[in-house]
């Protein structure tokens, strides 16, 4: 049996974002990383997460008036930053 492939940090961020931004999620995250962190998406690390989450919160809040939705999305990202929702996904 092939070993389960561990999702990268970028994959996990995009996966969470997809529940809110659908097909636009990868573009959204990529834009936040390149514009505000001045990095490529593939180069982000866990140390960058808290700063990235702040920018995501600001940008996402511009797209919706639903505070609960913003809190839910950011909450999931914060859990990821604390290492609570890392998952391994098999193919």
């Amino acid at each position: 049996m092939a070993p389960a492939r561990k999702q990268t940090l970028q994959d996990q961020i995009i996966d969470i974002s997809r529940d809110y931004l659908g097909p636009a999620s990868e573009r959204f995250i990529n834009r936040q990383v390149t514009t505000h962190l001045k990095k490529d998406l593939k180069d982000i690390t866990k140390d960058d997460l808290n700063k990235l989450i702040d920018w995501i919160r600001l940008s996402f809040a511009l797209l919706t008036n639903d505070g609960d939705l913003v809190d839910e999305y950011i909450g999931r990202l914060l859990k990821l930053a604390k290492g609570k929702s890392s998952k391994s996904y098999g193919r």
Partner: protein, 302 residues
Amino acid sequence: MKQRLYIAVFGLLILLYLGLNLFVSPAHATLARYHISATTARVITFSVVIPTAIIYISGAYGSLMMSRYARLINKSKEGKHFETFSSGLLLLILGQVVTSDVGNIVSIILRHEPNWISILTIINNYLVIIMTGLGLNFIAVGAWRLMDQTRKRVKGINPHLVMFLFITLSSIYSYLIISQPLHTPLAKRTYYMPDWLVILTIAVPYLFIWYLGFTGAYKIYAYQKNIKGTIYRGSLAYVATGIAFVVLSSIAIRFLSTSSYQLSRLNLTPVLFIIYGFLVLLAIGYLLIAWGAYKLRRIEEV
């Protein structure tokens, strides 16, 4: 560059539309038919033409917004399908203005050259079919390909219900075509073609075009229902609803034209209400598309 060209062409067509309706005196036959004075006819024309022009401009605006969104995401998987879809919207609204202008020009020519009525009527009828068909075809193709991307079982409206509604609409349309006395001089004024040619080259294409329109609207609705992303889906819902309104009103225009025999037996007030009803439906559709496109673009810009 292409958008600027489209805006320039569209602008000229709208100016032509306004000029042909507002600066050309009403036909004596129309005044006699509805027992109204030239002044009353002008007031009525003004009350229909100005809102119609505004709605056409709103339609172009909504379609251009959709097109701008599609170009913003053109490198993505769904980008090229949104481009196809928005091209259909641009063609549909352009087609509506073109056919309005051609219809007005035909009316003016016929006042001076009544012998040209058959050839001009035939050309006008086919032009409407081609312009409407092109627009709805592109909308349907873009919508189908978007839906194919999800590779999911379609949730939402039962497709059998959609088919039932379409069959009902086709039956009503077929009845209207047949109940219009095809063997009387009035039919000749509408089509100037033998019955079999009317059925084969006008009725059947229209039914197919409406099928494309229905399925296009349905596929966009289904794509919106099936796609992930709360914010994305909410924004796309406006586009899906707007498309449904635009497609339905395009079909309503054809029904009005097909029912010209029945409508000509009504007095003026119900006819105006029917026309205004269609205008409101069209306006709502294009405004919803514009709003949805704006919200989708916001996601790509923040």
